[in-house]
């Protein structure tokens, strides 16, 4: 379908976050002339999510979230935004979707950008806990921020030492909270980084006065007059006025599943972000997609993937075929530390850690599978990040002996 014969066509998008909004604007850029409508259950005007656990908490005005695109751009690009509207059903035979209020919308092309929701573990008493929030939406962040800013008692327990848990710990600490992080594994960030990185972040949080505890399996929460008590299976317990749950996500695949689309750890899509139905695409956190560089299917939770798949799907729908061919990247900000990651480290067999001689705050971990550089985590070290990305992309063979030698500075030709 090339852009110029789309005047009478309708493209519907489910989900108005990073993937959905970027897709809508990309579709116009690719030349789509027909109707574009986006539906989202969230009623807040589409916003950036990464700041919600980071810079958001230092805003003076707690209602202020960063918009993904200014309001007028939706008007000038004729993108109809329907907020506070949950989609309940996709009928792929009739090519329609149904909304919660019972109305039906027809489509020629449908894009599913439903992302994910927080996973709430089955912990005894969790439903009765006071001031317990996950952190995925603006409304969660606003409630957490309001609580910390207005409550006299600021004891916070964060369940889960992943990126969101650690970023939130750093942000709430800055606001004067007393923060305890309870992590079930024997190290933080266990699912996403090497032990070297976990150790670094562990120390960083301790230095900043956050109590970070590992091997802490939370088994129950009791709420009492004066806040909550969180119990672990090693018979320890922690008092909490506020609890933040950051133990991972559940992918929003239910709509797609009910519609009979292929699901495998996410909505399965090809290199153009198309599902197994010719008229339905899926993008962002909700997808299980093929990564060309690593030659396997992956599911990612990142802005990079949401934006890149959005572009690929927009091009495909307008008949300008481009394939998804990205090296994943991600970032995290905690205190004054900037972490940047590139590549996928899964399956690594060896890591090389570098702490730069001229600046011990600047470090990097390089993940290898035999001779192949899979990924780089760079702490206060954008040079390692940028070069790592180049090396991974070009599959450059790295001289590991040289890489280990911190007398050799990080430069394009240093490790040949």
């Amino acid at each position: 379908m090339s852009g110029n014969n789309t005047v009478d066509k309708t493209c519907l998008i489910i989900g108005a976050s990073h993937a959905g909004t970027n897709f809508a604007f990309a579709l116009r850029r690719e030349g789509w002339q027909g109707t574009i409508k986006i539906f989202d259950a969230d009623s807040v005007f589409p916003y950036h999510k990464p700041p919600l656990s980071k810079a958001y908490f230092s805003n003076e005005d707690s209602s202020q979230v960063d918009l993904l695109f200014p309001k007028e751009n939706y008007i000038t690009d004729h993108i109809q935004l329907h907020l506070g509207k949950a989609v309940t059903l996709i009928d792929k035979e009739k090519k329609t979707i149904a909304l919660e209020d019972g109305s039906i919308e027809e489509y020629d092309k449908l894009v599913i950008a439903t992302g994910a929701r927080p996973f709430i573990p089955k912990i005894k008493g969790i439903n009765k806990a006071q001031n317990l929030y996950p952190l995925r939406t603006a409304s969660h962040a606003i409630q957490i921020g309001e609580f910390i800013k207005t409550s006299k008692n600021k004891r916070v327990v964060i369940i889960g030492g992943g990126y969101i848990g650690l970023e939130t710990a750093a942000s709430l600490k800055k606001l004067g909270a007393k923060v305890v992080v309870l992590e079930r594994e024997n190290r933080v960030l266990a699912r996403v980084t090497a032990p070297e990185m976990s150790n670094y972040f562990h120390t960083l949080h301790h230095q900043n006065g956050v109590e970070l505890l590992t091997n802490k399996n939370v088994v129950s929460i009791e709420n009492n007059d004066n806040g909550n008590t969180v119990f672990c299976d090693d018979y320890t317990n922690y008092r909490a006025d506020l609890i933040v749950v950051g133990v991972g996500i559940k992918v929003n695949t239910e709509l797609a599943e009910k519609a009979g689309l292929a699901i495998e750890n996410g909505i399965k899509v090809d290199a153009t972000a198309k599902t197994n139905n010719d008229h339905i695409y899926a993008i962002g956190d909700c997808t299980f997609h093929y990564n060309k560089h690593y030659n396997r299917f992956v599911r990612l939770e990142s802005v990079q993937n949401a934006v890149d798949q959005a572009k690929v799907a927009a091009a495909a729908i307008c008949g300008n075929r481009i394939e998804y061919d990205s090296i994943p990247w991600f970032w995290s900000d905690q205190y004054d530390v900037k972490l940047q990651m590139v590549g996928l480290s899964t399956g690594y067999k060896e890591v090389i850690e570098r702490v730069e001689l001229d600046n011990d705050k600047s470090r990097s971990v390089w993940y290898f599978k035999n001779d192949e550089l899979l990924a780089v985590d760079a702490v206060n070290n954008p040079k390692a990040y940028v070069l790592g990305r180049r090396f991974i992309k070009s599959r450059q063979k790295i001289n590991k002996t040289k890489l280990k030698d911190t007398a050799i500075p990080i430069k394009p030709n240093s490790f040949l």
Partner: protein, 102 residues
């Protein structure tokens, strides 16, 4: 109020006006092709890279150390590279011309 001109990769020249925020935000608002601003302006992604035309370099000024480290080994760096999310829109940069990097 500052007038800023962007030259896109297909040689279109677009002049826009702004008086607050950073240059990346101004570009996104005006749908300048090639400036995505994926990290939201926290100097983490380099999807907002521009080349300042040399005659305006003094008006804009050099990058910070962190920004410089992001740019130094970028395949498309020039002598006048900047990440546009790190440039504030103020009267001081009125009239500058920025080429969108690949």
């Amino acid at each position: 109020m500052a007038k800023i001109t962007f030259i896109t990769s297909d040689e279109q020249s677009i002049t826009v006006e702004g008086n607050s925020g950073n240059v990346m935000e101004l570009a996104v608002k005006n749908k300048i092709k090639g400036i995505d601003g994926n990290c939201g302006g926290v100097c983490s992604c380099a999807t907002c890279h521009v080349h300042v035309l040399p005659e305006y370099w003094d008006k804009i000024g050099a990058p910070s150390e962190l920004e410089n480290d992001m740019l130094e080994f970028d395949e498309n760096i020039s002598d006048h590279s900047r990440l546009s999310c790190q440039i504030q829109v103020t009267d001081a940069i009125d009239g500058v011309v920025l080429k969108v990097a690949k």
